[in-house]
Symmetry: C2
Subunit: 192 residues, 2 copies
DNA sequence: GAATCATAAC
DNA sequence: GAATCATAAC
């Protein structure tokens, strides 16, 4: 199985180190390269759904997965609460749910991620911009009506040309290391 | 002043956020991008010395800086001891002293670094290999007799072709993330 | 030296 | 998608 289909493994055989929950419709896993303190993926198992462009999810299709989103959010809230008081500042509104305008991995997946973006795995500007700006399509915006940018166009307009702004205060940063330092400070501030 | 001479600032005006010690002969600073838990730089202020290729430091020249090496090592041992018991596993033999075969920054500087190599700033294979393998020339090997590899040759032979082996157990790793994970484990193990 | 971007090969 | 390497521009 090529890297593009690496998420298929979870759908076919849901038992894994990363698996937090599964039933006949869904598998919920921890993202292996979390771009924030909490970063889960919801993977619909239905073949009709897993092969879809997530931008085109219908309201009917979406309705089937709402409860898994609730589960994932609740998992984050509860887990952070019980994490020795370290993460007890996470609120429901700190959690983002959505998809990438152009996913890299083939099987449809829904990101559920906290808005701290404090993570060692966040290494490149694209990692941040993919969750902050138009490349991140909020669950509530789906289905996103056509026309769609091509992959090249989206890369340019929705990633490369986007500024690096703090997810909390909108302050623009010249580069990723300074933004990351600031995000760490935002996180530490919230803790107190 | 171009990036190549950024260390000159410390020599000209030793008072800075990073400065730990200075006198007429030397400035000792914290490396701004530490590649391990403790990473200091010793900067000779003597113009004749600062412009030298460090590989050619004579025994006579070296003798002038021995005491600053002692100071730097002692600083690391004492600081780690007083760091709330977090780093109290650092021993004198965990500290490496030396220079890079081909320095990037112009003013002669001596690295004093712990062998944990646990650091967010260690981002590329070269960062690790520059301290582990022939690219790192130990203080005790100086002066290094000619002939010298060219910069290109050193980059190939002393960096690119070198394996990524653990500084503690010599185990070879396929890539930097797996090595970093292992180094973190080595560090945590030593702590206990 | 650091940071960004493009490009293979997986 | 991740990881490595080469390449500008600072
Ligand atoms: N083997 C894996 N297991 C779990 N998550 C993964 C794996 N490989 C990549 N990912 C994550 O999958 C997501 C795919 O992103 P995207 O296709 O852009 O929506 C990213 O957040 C990756 O970190
Ligand atoms: N502005 C700076 N202040 C302090 N250290 C620095 C600065 N810029 C780079 N460095 C460090 O200087 C060292 C130069 O490495 P090298 O020239 O390869 O011996 C590296 O360890 C860098 O992290
Ligand atoms: Zn902010
Ligand atoms: Zn080891």
């Amino acid at each position: 199985m090529s890297w593009k289909y690496v998420l298929k493994g979870y759908i076919v055989n849901p038992t894994s180190e990363n698996t937090l929950f599964y039933d006949d419709s869904c598998v919920i896993i921890k993202d292996s390269f979390p771009k924030a303190k909490y970063h889960l993926l919801i993977l619909p198992r239905d073949h009709k759904i897993t092969i879809k462009d997530p931008k085109t999810l219908t309201f009917k299709e979406k309705s089937r997965y709402e409860k898994y989103i609730v589960w994932a959010k609740n998992y984050i809230l509860e887990t952070s609460k019980s994490n020795g008081g370290f993460d007890n500042n996470i609120k429901i509104n700190d959690i983002r749910v959505g998809i990438h305008y152009v996913p890299s991995l083939a099987n449809l997946h829904i990101h559920v991620i906290t808005n701290d973006f404090v993570s060692d795995k966040l290494k490149y500007p694209k990692h941040y911009k993919a969750f902050n700006g138009p490349f991140f399509v909020d669950w509530d915006q789906l289905p996103l009506p056509p026309p769609y940018l091509t992959s090249k166009e989206a890369e340019m307009k929705y990633i490369k040309l986007q500024p690096l702004k703090c997810s909390h205060c909108d302050y623009p940063f010249k580069n990723l290391p300074t933004l990351k330092k600031h995000l760490k400070q935002e996180w530490e501030t919230k803790k107190n």
